[in-house]
Symmetry: C2
Amino acid sequence: MSEVVAAPGVCAGGAPGATIEPVADGAAGARENGAGVSVEGAPRPPGRRPTITDVARQAGVSRGTVSRVLNDSPQVSADTRAAVEQAVAETGYRVNTLARGLRTGSTHRVAFLLNEGVSRLFAHPNLPVIVQHCSDALGARGSSMLLLMAGSEDERRRAIEFVDAGAVDGVLVLSWNADPDILTRLEATGVPTVSCGAPRGYDGPIAWTGADDRQGAARAVEHLLSIGRRNLVAITGTDDLPGGDQRRAGFLDVVGADVDPRRVQARPDTRDAAEEVVATLLADVPDLDGMFCGNDVMAAWAVEALQRNGRRVPDDVAVVGFDDSSAALSSTPHLTTMRQDFEAIAGTMVQLLFELLEGRPPRSVVVPTELVVRGSTVG
Amino acid sequence: MSEVVAAPGVCAGGAPGATIEPVADGAAGARENGAGVSVEGAPRPPGRRPTITDVARQAGVSRGTVSRVLNDSPQVSADTRAAVEQAVAETGYRVNTLARGLRTGSTHRVAFLLNEGVSRLFAHPNLPVIVQHCSDALGARGSSMLLLMAGSEDERRRAIEFVDAGAVDGVLVLSWNADPDILTRLEATGVPTVSCGAPRGYDGPIAWTGADDRQGAARAVEHLLSIGRRNLVAITGTDDLPGGDQRRAGFLDVVGADVDPRRVQARPDTRDAAEEVVATLLADVPDLDGMFCGNDVMAAWAVEALQRNGRRVPDDVAVVGFDDSSAALSSTPHLTTMRQDFEAIAGTMVQLLFELLEGRPPRSVVVPTELVVRGSTVG
DNA sequence: TTGTACGCGTTATCAG
DNA sequence: CTGATAACGCGTACAA
């Protein structure tokens, strides 16, 4: 096992020295013709993308007939259908959904408007999960999803304009921060919209769905009581976090609204805040034996902080989180938590949207949560 | 400080019992008319969105004139301009960018095609950063960004179809997994495309940009040598991770390609893999004193594993990562790392795309990295 | 300076 | 069963 030897300060080789390296032989802007292979008898003016007219000419039929074939109209003879399909293949034709949408008024596309900065997206493990499930649910219905990130006002303006332009059939919106304005602006576009989570500060008629934050939180607290804990405290998110106020309300529903306010702390979801609030709680409520946290990420940090302060989890303090996000399993011990059925929530969002698209009135649906018991409350 | 008392099993109140709750008084599908306020004299058939024709009628001019006003044509009198603008305000008219795009062939929209599952998005702290910076850079040029997540083949198909439909002017694509196919399919659409990171397994002419993975890795290793470490090992990503092979190559450039292969390990970026590979390395190279990791997340996990095995960082083992992602600062000690200038990379991607849109040939640009020295290599 | 007429690529209507 | 023809909403030569 010989020592590693090398000449420091010298890059041995390989890595290109120049930072700019033009790529060879691509004819300037001469976008290669669509169909990659086997285009034999298509003398169509190159550089232009084939239209329905080209196909019609190639097949020796009218544009209308081609359109009928493309849209699976039943009233078209097998012969002409075959001829058209061959012409489509030969020309490499692909439908221009822009023009189709202009004509039909429907795009089969849905925007997912994420009214948050991208940092939130990383901080909240469940956010990507919802987005993914929505994409799946929309795909199953033949629509594709366009993700619009709107963390800044500039992005918000552009996103609204996009929706406003008729580029999508509907909008799924996720807006945690207290910006009721975005819903107002969306409503002004007239495009059907479904909100993820109850809209706060906006009282117009709007379809929405979300977890039963309040009842779920109550259930979590009842669990703490059921295992004999009596000195309960809560760390909830600030009101701009999902379910912040509702989950706090659920805690109060069980312990009573007249509880010592020092037992109920609201904090932003940062590691430092978790550290600080645990210290505060341990000072104010030294004999605390049960803790409810507004989400798993905060719960995981709180567990770490408790352990650093010499408290054993769950022996000294039982901790329960919310979400059942990935953070619940990367914590030690694993977190007892209220599971949100993100797949159901996403499915419901899409369901509600399609109801709107069919002209039905907006509804709201609350999706139940489920208690998942793990090591942070029972040894 | 009284004990918390409550009746377990009973939800105290507030949370709605029914899971379905229809929203009131929204007239079924009767999307409220666009302009929120002050629409006085607009007797336009409701339910329909105002078109350029409505504005023309309202202003008492022709459609062409309205169009000229909308597009800031210089040859239009101040009077008519004012009249048109008033009519626009009165009718609540907003341009239909779909129709405009159909006519002009330009949409001022760009797709960011994320050829990854959403889980990757969460696992890699730098991914959202790139996406955000691209959105900003595009916004500065008047274009908006549409994020297309294509983790499954179904989503990929839909995304390609979207691009193919002429819905965007260009595409920024990020594809780490070895799927050269996606670039081939994008090329077939003829829509200008810029890849983030050198395309692997695809040799067509394509514009791309990325960090100088190889040279950066070499620089990192030289740093380890410069602080006196001689028994070096490397944990790089597998080839489907960004810069996997190139960063490994950079390591080999410095230590020599004939290094004991047991010193150079490739692993997927999971916590378990980090745990395992550190054990392996400690067994094979017990006197190792310097470690290069292909990214910060792996580096952070490796540091934890080293510490659990009784090695002090940096005293016994100096560790250097790559990316300067958020993981570098949430690790203890903070990680020495090669900083990627994500803002520059994103800016370059957008720059290259606009060059293509202007008809210039595809180029590739390598963005330099910078060594950031922190506690994991110097006490 | 403004109006007219046409075309972008598609679908829908109506004859035949 | 198929072929003209008219929209969809907009931009732009061309004419006035």
